[in-house]
């Protein structure tokens, strides 16, 4: 538990302080230097430079910022959506429950990757979003976050629904109901705290899944677009140069791997802490 948490914290700090570090080192991750392409590690460039002579370490920090932002933002958004759906389904029951859970089953059953490709390639302009907005770089990030949420929300929804079903028949909830507490109050005060633990686990795990998903989208050319770079897009860019400059691909790949495995291990450790009987799930 300590090791993965420490690793994650390290990666996060390194990524989020990227711009600051760049400023401190006097470098600019976007500064091209055609005369120093593929440079070996040196004092000026601790990890060397890439195919345009940009500092690889600064680029990795920058890429991490984008990857982690996508991963964390999408995981939190998915948790929020999933919680809302799960609470509604679990507490209200009946038709609401039926429809929402069928929807969740549907999403799980669908061949997701091909559908994501369709969604990732959508022309936002055609669905009435203004051209300038549809084409801004913030939207290309948002698009990936939305896609990730569409895939990931079901886990949280099912968890929360299950926990809500159990909790709502517990005595203290019934007592609160009989005292005339409103639905929002009950959900917020009595039910949500009880589902927090599994929700935290699911969200931690999904950060890793989303970073992997982003790298797949990048591989297919549907991820973040230059000049923005994520680990996934750095990796798929470096792919073509893998035999001549393998390190350009190995670093971002390793960063993805380390981050994802740290998320998974942390999630697993949290799970065991919250529920020692639980042998861990995938």
């Amino acid at each position: 538990m300590r090791l993965p948490a420490f690793l994650l914290a390290l990666i996060a700090v390194a990524s989020l302080t990227g711009p600051f570090a760049a400023h401190l080192l006097g470098g600019d991750p976007a500064a091209v230097d055609l005369l120093h392409r593929f440079a070996a590690p040196s004092a000026a460039h601790p990890l060397g430079t890439d195919e345009l002579g940009r500092d690889l370490m600064l680029r990795l920090m920058e890429g991490g910022r984008v990857s982690l932002t996508i991963g964390i933002a999408a995981a939190l958004a998915a948790a929020a959506v999933g919680t809302a759906v799960g609470l509604a389904a679990g507490y209200l029951g009946g038709w609401t429950d039926r429809v929402l859970m069928r929807l969740a089953d549907g999403v799980i059953a669908l061949p997701l990757l091909p559908l994501l490709i369709v969604l990732a390639a959508l022309d936002l302009h055609k669905i009435g979003i203004s051209r300038s907005l549809a084409e801004s770089s913030g939207v290309s990030l948002m698009r990936i976050v939305v896609l990730a949420v569409l895939v990931v929300w079901t886990t949280a929804a099912r968890l929360v629904r299950g926990a809500t079903l159990v909790t709502k028949s517990r005595d203290f909830v019934r007592a609160a109901q009989s005292l005339g507490a409103g639905v929002p109050h009950i959900l917020w005060r009595h039910i949500l705290p009880n589902v927090m633990a599994p929700l935290v686990v699911a969200t931690t795990l999904s950060v890793g899944d989303i970073i992997l998903l982003e790298s797949v989208l990048s591989f297919l050319g549907l991820g973040v677009q230059p000049p923005l770079a994520s680990w996934g897009s750095m990796l798929s860019n470096a792919e073509e140069l893998i035999s001549s400059s393998p390190l350009l691909a190995i670093y971002p790949g390793a960063m993805i791997f380390l981050t994802v495995i740290a998320c998974n291990l942390l999630g697993d450790a949290l799970l065991q802490r919250f529920d020692p009987r639980e042998p861990g799930r995938t």
């Binding site: 976007a30 500064a31 091209v32 055609l34 005369l35 392409r37 195919e51 345009l52 390639a121 022309d123 051209r131 084409e135 770089s137 050319g221 677009q225 230059p226 000049p227 860019n237 792919e239 073509e240 140069l241 893998i242 035999s243 001549s244 400059s245």
Partner: protein, 530 residues
């Protein structure tokens, strides 16, 4: 070790092989082995006959100037199909095929890709089984070239064409691609596995020189890392230049394995440039455009990113072209002069950030190119970084090719756009420079003068050179057009793209043309070093 077969790797699997539906590079590469066009430009950029006996000219009487009812000049061209030309099922190639192809091309429901050419042909007269005359509605200097007129086998395809609307899915090229009667070249297609590979075998009815390789397999491998690995493991023998690795990847491959292969870099007709939308008030100022051009170090860019294998462009005509002149204004890297020009144009340097004019407007442009084209994305980031040095802010905004070419560029929603023009030898720049070729709603967004370049002098030069039959006088007109371009700078010339052919050392006779015709048209010259 003697090889009697050859396996070629390409990066894109061709769509259905009908030569007259949808032009795709991978398709023309494969069909180069199996179908003969009448005329092509060879590796010396000379027009030659492949399926015909001789090129029409006014001297040999096969070309006759005509007067059209509206007073314009037209031309009648007489061609004779080679007497020994045969489809690979033993049926001779005849004027019946010519008539059928013309009928197909003229039919408005036939889904023919390039209908323009058929509209220009007013009629076909058949003299006998082998000789026919085309009545053309215009006379241009390259009148003898009819390379897009690729014959379809009437004896097989006429039945499929019974319902013209359905032809695109009933054509035997789609339903029965291994039917030998569909091919008349040195090879015929003997196996066609969509998405994977195509096998060609020598055509028993081919009357020309017998090709050295009995069997040629073409494998499509889209991922370039996998393509290279296949080459190294010997699964494929070579990588085609026409539909192969992008130059920067070929260069990286060259560095590691160059000594094991024969790698040919051939500069071509693809002119990479940055279009400047002249409706943008800042870009309308010629000084700003010159500053932009002087602000980028094209020489170093070409030397480092492309190992000097592709040439810096000073104008839009390729150095190999007959119309080329080197005598144009040149703008080498000169950031100091670029800054001066911007100051003169009223864009003043700021203590931090990009330049501003006296109205407080920032000197900032959006630069667009095709998303996913790695080479362009790299160059684009170089431009962004170098322009930042002279105080120009660039926002990169890339789009998939089909959005860029289908929507953004025709509707002219751009400031700066980096892309390429593909041309042919001595190809008239009419659609890119003539003032009436600006895409508008009124003309259905046709035309490729995307920057809104309007120069009466350029219009006059284009009109004159298209109909100038005298080569020397034409060359002068070409030179003037290039000089005018280099003075006006409606777009910023970058470089001419090169293709990389990665061949085994024992393979001989592959001669890249540098024009749009694939090496495969000359596959009978291919052989093996002893």
């Amino acid at each position: 070790m003697a090889h009697d077969q050859l396996t070629i790797g390409i990066v894109q699997f061709p769509p259905a092989l009908n030569p007259n539906l949808e032009a795709v590079a991978a398709k023309s590469y494969v069909l180069g082995f199996a179908l003969r066009p009448f005329t092509v430009f060879d590796a010396d950029w000379k027009l030659v006959c492949l399926l015909c006996t001789e090129l029409p000219s006014f001297d040999n009487g096969r070309a006759v100037k005509t007067q059209l009812p509206d007073g314009k000049a037209g031309v009648d061209l007489t061609y004779t199909i080679r007497p020994d030309a045969m489809w690979a099922d033993g049926v001779p190639v005849t004027t019946d095929d010519v008539k059928f192809t013309y009928e197909f091309g003229r039919n408005k429901q036939s889904a023919v890709a390039n209908a323009e050419m058929y509209r220009e042909i007013l009629g076909v007269d058949v003299k006998d089984d082998k000789t026919f005359t085309l009545h053309w509605d215009r006379l241009s200097f390259n009148y003898a070239a009819i390379d897009d007129f690729v014959l379809l086998p009437a004896h097989l395809e006429r039945a499929a064409f019974a319902d013209p609307v359905q032809y695109k899915v009933r054509t035997l090229y789609a339903t029965d691609p291994t039917n030998p009667g569909l091919y008349n070249g040195p090879y015929r297609i003997s196996e066609f596995v969509a998405g994977s590979h195509i096998v060609l075998e020598s055509n028993p009815h081919w009357a020309g020189p017998v090709p050295y390789f009995k069997r040629i397999t073409i494998r499509a491998i889209e991922n370039s890392a996998a393509l290279e690995a296949n080459l190294l493991s010997g699964t494929i023998n070579m990588i085609a230049g026409e539909v192969g690795l992008p130059l920067d990847e070929a260069l990286a491959f060259d560095q590691r394995h160059g000594h094991d292969y024969n790698i040919i870099y051939k500069p071509g007709l693809t002119f990479e440039h940055v279009d400047c939308n002249l409706d943008n008030p800042a870009l309308a100022d010629r000084r700003v455009r010159e500053a932009l051009l002087r602000g980028i170090d094209r020489a170093t860019l070409v030397k480092t990113l492309f190992a000097g294998k592709q040439a810096v462009a000073d104008s839009f005509v390729e150095p190999l072209d007959a119309g080329y002149t080197g005598d144009v204004a040149k703008y080498p890297y000169d950031p100091a002069r670029a800054k001066e020009l911007l100051e003169e144009a009223g864009w003043h340097a700021q203590s931090d950030g990009p330049r501003k004019n006296s109205d407080g407007k920032t000197l900032s442009f959006e630069l667009a190119t095709t998303a996913g084209n790695r080479s362009r994305e790299l160059v684009e980031q170089v431009l962004q970084s170098q322009w930042k040095e002279i105080g120009v802010d660039i926002r990169i905004h890339n789009e998939p090719a089909r959005v860029l070419f289908g929507e953004t560029l025709p509707h002219r929603h751009f400031d700066l756009a980096m892309y390429a023009w593909m041309s042919a030898p001595e190809n008239s720049p009419r659609s890119i420079f003539r003032s009436d070729e600006v895409p508008t709603e009124a003309n259905g967004y046709a035309g490729e003068n995307l920057v809104d370049y309007k120069s009466p002098e350029m219009d006059r030069l284009i009109d004159a050179l298209e109909v100038e039959l005298d080569p020397d006088r034409r060359k002068q007109l070409w030179a003037k057009a290039q000089q005018l371009y280099a003075t006006d700078l409606p777009s910023l010339p970058l470089y001419f793209r090169s293709d990389a052919y990665i061949l085994p050392k024992w393979l001989t006779g592959v001669r890249p043309t540098g024009n749009q015709y694939p090496t495969t048209l000359w596959s009978t010259d291919w052989g093996e070093a002893k």
